[in-house]
Symmetry: C2
Subunit: 301 residues, 2 copies
């Protein structure tokens, strides 16, 4: 912590920005707020953006100079299945593409409470099928996302695996929300350290996303409890100052026990989904560089 | 599994070699056996070996062509604190040096039951101090080892941290034994999958290493229960077919929660301390390559 430069304001400055306004109330205000804080630093000028629709789902293509258009990351933004957008995560998704030298397809899946479970997963599957029908081989596709987008990634892979479909080359998960029962010990032990994600907020999100008749331990909803066998190689990145740390460490243990190649990175001092702020946060850029290196290696295998 | 070549016999062939002889009984037979299976494939012909003594502890220097002699990995072999030697782990230690472009100092610390706890830790500290007194800066030293050698690495770092000494650049742990109370769930769930490490054997080792008056939860003995704060960056590598998988996944979670930079790699199908067999096992060489890349990056920071 502490070292600062033009290109690195440090995580404490991000914390200060997040603390500078009262927490928003209500879905509309939360969505505006995430669009605002997620896009404080604009997309780099050399990124080519193009709107698209795949399987009826609004999406956005992005491409950095020198990237390989035939390799694609499908990116699912976070926001607890209730907020977040292509806009809020544009800087993160586009720079992930640069780091991985690949094209990015950011998915604007439907949100709760208007569209509860399983709408988001159905949209994720529609995007996957839409991309595959364009002739992109599964092994040239990586899937990933942050927070709820990480959970959505795992739900999509379950669906594909259970349908005996070809699987993506790898999965990239940043601060994934894997347990909607909130049974991880860091929900309590990191309560004071985490500026963003607290139990009451998670409970509200889970209530909005999951119809009350459905068990939150359902593996499509809480992929921590899923059968993870035959999943593709998985990179999990999580900050040490996160209530969701146990969601990542337990996922790594479960996936590894199921014979999945797993890399878990725990980043000191980092907060929920910190690569969002890569525009001024060096640790955000380094995390994306590590993810890019991971994805490039898996594409090459 | 399955794919084989001149340079990759596959993990099943290693399993077959291990199963080809009855498990040895008694310490002398176990020591001979580990020397035998650990050195099936000889040290590469281009490695320069040199015996040494640091702080009174017998050691061995090794250097691969092109490596940087001013950067040193202190390597602690595994063997449950009761067996293992410079010889048994020579191929693993020397190839780790090549992968990390560094010199390796393999430590021949004292073994139980002749020399129970804390003899091994005292020897580890003597080797550290001996190397430091040769003018090698702490930040140019990496420490690491497999199995009990991983536990010993963590015990050494605790001692240094508690004495407010400078710390090594990083720690590298392969299949570390971090919990001598055997409370990890994979001790049971991986019992059938693991060809080498079972609860009764671990109990015998712990009994030989730890004098009965001492609690096995002591953090010097079971570093999983230690305060890990201010530890240097840590790479943990573990196979999915190991009873000690939980020793690694819980260590990663604990170190990460203590704000330590952690990378945990879980390798499918791999068994206890598989980089030992890098001579014919491609996954062993890839694990060493990943460790080498990690160490080089930490030396450069």
């Amino acid at each position: 912590m502490g070292h600062k430069s033009m290109d690195d304001c440090g995580i404490d400055a991000i914390r200060a920005i997040l603390a500078s306004k009262p927490r928003p109330e209500g879905w509309a205000a939360r969505r505006m707020r995430l669009d605002e804080v997620g896009s404080i630093w604009p997309v780099a000028g050399d990124i080519k953006l193009e709107p698209a629709a795949l399987g009826g789902v609004p999406c956005e293509w992005s491409l950095a100079p020198g990237s390989e258009p035939a390799r694609v990351l499908i990116f699912f933004h976070g926001g607890g299945y209730c907020s977040g957008s292509i806009l809020s995560h544009r800087r993160m998704a586009t720079e992930a593409g640069r780091a991985g030298a690949m094209r990015v397809l950011a998915a604007g899946y439907r949100l709760a409470p208007e569209h509860p479970y399983p709408a988001a997963i159905e949209d994720a599957l529609s995007v996957w099928n839409g991309l595959r029908s364009q002739g992109i081989a599964a092994k040239r596709i990586a899937v990933g996302g942050d927070s709820a987008g990480g959970g959505l990634t795992l739900a999509l892979i379950q669906r594909l695996r259970d349908a005996a479909e070809e699987l993506p080359a790898c999965a990239w998960l940043v601060s994934p929300w894997t347990d909607l029962t909130m049974s991880g010990e860091t929900i309590a032990t990191k309560e004071a350290a985490d500026p963003l994600i607290h139990k009451a907020y998670l409970a509200e999100l889970a209530e909005a996303y999951v119809p009350s008749r459905i068990d939150r331990r359902d593996p499509q909803i809480s992929p921590l409890f899923a059968d993870l066998s035959r999943f593709p190689p998985m990179l999990i990145q999580i900050g040490s100052a996160e209530t969701l740390l146990s969601d990542s460490s337990r996922l790594a243990a479960a996936a590894g026990a199921a014979n999945v190649p797993v890399t878990l990175e725990i980043w000191p001092d980092m907060i929920h989904a910190w690569p969002l702020w890569n525009g001024r946060l060096e640790a955000g850029r380094r995390a994306l560089a590590s993810a890019g290196s991971f994805v490039r290696q898996k594409f090459a295998e």
